[in-house]
């Protein structure tokens, strides 16, 4: 009885998951198949896979032939990676301080840092732009990195401080008795133990940054600092849109973020199983 019930239930769960996977993957699938077709085929039969007659690499040729796309990818990559690194570093440090030390205003500080989750950073766009102009940072990747770091920190501090509280006090105290400095306790004892949480935060931080169009458009629209998302927009005109190129550019843009995701999710799984065995 119990077994049948559980088969039924897991079957249902899997059905729901499969349905969800299909729904979320369908647009990606559509983008990818159409990026390999010629223009007529895209419009005549958008839902069919490319056949020998309709197969065409014209989109990829346009994108890669433009030459600048390598720079766009590089820009996106630099911005995303550096912003993630800064978010993880400062987020974890702030979370450690909030969860480990008792000081006046601790709770208030935690709340202040968490408020950022609720207020979208885009509300401050004008002020940010004015600040960047004053600091001479417009059209630099630094501007984007700073904004994205600020954008990612609240959630990072929130998630990581919860996880830090679960790290045993005895372990940290043992480190103190063995003569580790507070920095070594943080980097060598605490960080390795909350690696799964770090991976989660990295994934949550990475996707909005990679996909963002708003801040690149406003803060760094110059040719040398364009990101992939912004770069793809050149194929979308007011009257004519080069769909082959747009779809090819989008398909290419999926790849790096997919690689990053695989790296982080590996950490995630490793962390989970390590906990389970212990």
């Amino acid at each position: 009885m119990q077994a049948r019930h559980s088969i039924f239930r897991t079957g249902f769960v899997h059905l729901a998951l499969i349905a969800y996977t299909l729904i979320s993957l369908f647009p990606v699938f559509l983008t990818i198949i159409n990026s390999f077709k010629d223009r007529n085929a895209i419009f005549r039969a958008p839902l069919t896979v490319p056949t020998p007659q309709t197969f065409s690499l014209i989109g990829y040729q346009t994108v890669l032939g433009q030459g600048d796309f390598a720079t766009y990818f590089q820009n996106s990559f630099i911005v995303t990676i550096v912003a993630i690194a800064l978010v993880l570093l400062f987020g974890a440090m702030a979370a450690f301080a909030l969860s480990e030390y008792r000081f006046r205003g601790n709770t208030l500080m935690g709340l202040y840092l968490a408020i950022g989750i609720m207020i979208p950073i885009r509300l401050g766009t004008v002020a940010i732009l004015q600040g960047m102009v004053a600091a001479n940072l417009v059209n630099t990747l630094t501007a984007l990195i700073l904004v994205y770091t600020a954008q990612g920190l609240p959630l990072a501090v929130f998630i990581l401080s919860e996880f830090m509280r679960t790290v045993s006090d005895d372990l940290k105290n043992a480190g103190r008795i063995d003569g580790l400095s507070e920095y070594s306790i943080f980097f060598r004892l605490v960080l390795p133990l909350i690696r799964p949480a770090m991976a989660t935060v990295a994934v949550f931080t990475m996707i909005p940054i990679w996909n963002d169009l708003w801040f690149p458009l406003i803060l760094a629209p110059a040719e040398t600092t364009k990101t992939v998302t912004l770069g793809s927009q050149i194929f979308i005109g007011q009257f004519v849109t080069n769909w082959n190129a747009v779809l090819a550019a989008l398909s290419l843009a999926i790849l790096p973020v997919l690689v990053l995701y695989v790296i982080f999710s590996r950490q995630l799984i490793r962390g989970i199983t390590a906990g389970a065995v212990k």
């Binding site: 372990l171 008795i177 065995v277 212990k278």
Partner: protein, 333 residues
Amino acid sequence: MGSLQLKSIRKAYGSHEVLKGIDLEVKDGEFVIFVGPSGCGKSTLLRTIAGLEDATSGSVQIDGVEVGHVAPAKRGIAMVFQSYALYPHLTVKDNMGLGLKQAGKPKVEIEDKVGKAANMLSLDPYLARRPAELSGGQRQRVAIGRAIVREPKLFLFDEPLSNLDAALRVNTRLEIARLHRSLKATMIYVTHDQVEAMTLADKIVVLNAGQIEQIGSPMDLYNRPANVFVAGFIGSPQMNFIDGARLGDTRAKTIGIRPEHIGLSRENGDWKGKVVHVEHLGADTIVYIESDQVGLITVRLFGEHRYAPDDIVHATPMVGSMHRFGADDRILA
């Protein structure tokens, strides 16, 4: 080398006072145990000695040197935690050697000391393993090894046996006792288990609600408890407390008699009563008796005895076994 003086240590969290003025002297080589119910402040006191907590006021001296503002690593102490607190990503060897490595000791010396400690605790086969690959008992031995390697003036143990099962607890207890004899080091040990306290300690410090109730050797505490709290805390089953007035004693408010100091007979005796419950433990038989004169009392008989509930029995306290406590709960001279 390794004496400790505590002078009027107080510790408060906000308005809540956890330690209310602790004075204590520990001599070199002594094995001192802090014992008391949970929440009595014994762990806080240990952490204050270690420097993991700062005392609100008072002074801590190790070997006559004030260490109130010295970092834990520089106090010459080593600590063993209840949860082992091993570094999960380091091997047993690195776990044990980390303290020395941090102190900048040469590699050869670290190898040598870790080797000796591992030998002492028979941990040699496990040196290359990580803590996750060890059993609970082995982990606690590694934690003890980590303490030995540092060659501290003072060993601090924070309920080290609480996470072990009963059989391992006895083994590890013996191991710690053996270690104390061979290292001749000063050890301070916190536990809520009075059996550990009685078996290991040279000197027991009984704490209650942030204050020291009594300091003495295990047999001192058993034979001459200073007050009702210590009398009730040391000894198992607990001492019987009888209202002084019921025994016609006008000076004593409470009279205490240990269960093992009461004889039982079916024919005659001082207090007649009915057996309520009997526990047969093999070596002991514990008999609970409801008597008209003194209320519910516990009697511990050695060996096997065939008493059953509802039997009528007569209990007689042994001569000179009564502890008389005054109105302030302290022992009467």
